[in-house]
């Protein structure tokens, strides 16, 4: 992603975004009012959270949930909702407690 484009003359023609994966550069973590806390001890790694997360913010390692990408997580809570009721490995807590 080109940074600091000041003039219209420097823009790609036709308003195209000329490289893939640019959503990475768009940090949406600060939209969050609730923060998901992942408990790896309770987690059964069914990956329902990973499937449903609209921001691809569930980070896996070796097929297991490793962490949550807080730079992009908007705190929607879908992961906590989709986590099986008997597992409840993700808890949504007030973001304000971390600021």
């Amino acid at each position: 992603m080109k940074e600091n484009i000041n003039s219209w003359k420097d823009l790609p023609i036709g308003g195209i975004v000329d490289e893939p994966g640019t959503a990475m550069a768009y940090k949406t973590g600060d939209w969050r009012t609730l923060r998901p806390i992942h408990n790896s001890e309770k987690c059964i790694n069914c990956l329902a959270c990973w499937i449903y997360c609209p921001d691809s913010a569930i980070i896996l390692k070796d097929g297991k949930v490793e962490s949550i990408d807080l730079e992009h997580c908007k705190g929607c809570g879908i992961c906590a909702h989709e986590c099986p009721p008997k597992v409840k490995a993700i808890e949504m807590v007030d973001e304000a407690d971390f600021r």
């Binding site: 484009i5 036709g14 308003g15 000329d18």
Partner: protein, 394 residues
């Protein structure tokens, strides 16, 4: 150089040009009087004379959408339409321009409803004049053919990359057979060259996003770049017109000036009326009135400075508009020309007559009468209506 003199209607001439251009994709929906263009072209597709993927759609909105998709994918794409069909494309016209797609359209000028009318006026094309499309008007079948060939080069010019519509007058040109010179397939194909899309979306090694949203922070910059492309089109049009002249014999510019150098009165118009106007000019000159004519070929980009400079020494000017802007200030050609001429502040009288709506005929005698009455009003110090209608039952 292989020129062949043949008899062709405007629609046949445009279909012939499209065959020679051999576009990758054509997407269209039929509408009178443009239907024939695609009807004829479809026979070329069926006969295997072209490599084109012809996409018949269920509406003009879809036709333009499909054309946009094809062009985004990297295909040289064309379409044809008229009147309500063009109107149904309006939403997509802006998108084609904003995405900077060098789409090519054969547009056959026809009046807009209501009332329903299938005949010629320029109301349909004028509705798309602020959409970011280059607009070129043709006086006859020959120009329709020549313009469509040049359109490819103008639209795809690296400084431009804008969609382009080449128009003919419905029925008057589209359905009238005239003698025209056509060039060999090889020469036309050499002239237009191969299309090299800037960044085709189907290049999976270089993924891109097309049609994304701009917030307040970028929209203006993208539109500014679009405006610049339209400015750049001016040079490209001249460059391509000159090269066309050196290759095929007839050079093209922004306008054609006919007996304008010593003119005391000049008519300014678009399209087929220019031909009739030239006969009127000759008749007036036989009667001792120094008449002239300026045919505007390129309406978008509007060659304001060039037109104003060419008319600088003509005291009496009559702008004939084949559409009504319904702005209570006359027609679109008049408004733009008047604005262009305001800069030089010379002592002109510029009047406007809206004529020919819905195919109403304009005769040589009517033009003669109009121009001569303007000259005699000026000579007698009488005032003349600035804006009016010609050929309507008052």
């Amino acid at each position: 150089m292989g020129k062949t003199r043949v008899a062709r209607t405007g629609n046949e001439a445009m279909a012939e040009a499209i065959r020679q251009i051999n576009p990758d994709v054509v997407a269209a929906y039929p509408i009178t009087p443009a239907t024939e263009v695609m009807q004829i072209f479809a026979t070329y597709v069926a006969d295997g004379l072209v490599d084109t993927e012809l996409v018949p759609t269920e509406s003009e909105h879809s036709a333009m959408s499909a054309a946009i998709g094809a062009q985004v994918a990297g295909a040289r794409t064309m379409t044809a339409t008229s009147s309500q069909g063009l109107a149904l494309m309006y939403e997509m016209l802006y998108i084609a321009a904003g995405l900077r797609l060098p789409l090519i359209m054969a547009e056959v000028n026809r009046a807009l409803s209501a009332p329903i009318n299938i005949h010629c006026d320029h109301g349909d094309t004028m509705g798309g004049r602020d959409a970011g499309w280059i607009q070129i008007f043709s006086e006859n079948s020959q120009e329709a053919y020549d313009n469509l060939i040049q359109a490819v080069r103008i639209a795809e010019h690296s400084d431009v990359l804008l969609p382009i519509m080449v128009t003919t007058d419905g029925f008057i040109i589209s359905h009238a057979m005239e003698d025209i010179d056509i060039y060999s397939d090889g020469e036309v194909r050499d002239f237009i060259g191969t299309y090299k899309p800037l960044q085709p979306a189907l290049d999976y090694k270089k993924p891109i996003t097309v049609g994304s949203i701009d917030f307040v922070d970028y929209y203006f910059e993208h539109r500014r770049a679009l405006a610049q492309a339209m400015s750049n089109a001016k040079n490209a049009i001249l460059e391509v017109g000159r090269e066309f002249g050196s290759k095929f014999g007839q050079e093209y510019g922004f306008y054609e000036a006919y007996k304008l150098d010593d003119a005391e009165v000049a008519m300014v118009c678009l399209g087929s009326t220019a031909g009739t106007g030239k006969d009127a000019v000759d008749n007036l000159r036989k009667r001792g009135i120094k008449a002239g004519l300026l045919k505007v070929r390129v309406f978008r980009p509007f060659p304001a400075e060039e037109l104003a400079a060419r008319l600088k020494d003509v005291p009496q000017i009559c702008v004939l508009d084949r559409s009504d802007a319904l702005a209570a200030t006359g027609g679109p050609l008049y408004a733009e020309l008047l604005a262009a001429m305001f800069e030089d502040r010379a002592d002109h009288t510029v009047i406007n007559r809206i004529y020919g709506l819905g195919g109403r005929d304009i005769k040589v005698g009517e033009i003669e009468e109009l121009l001569s009455s303007q000259v005699s009003a000026a000579a007698g110090g009488k005032s003349i209506d600035r804006i009016g209608y010609l050929g309507v039952r008052e």
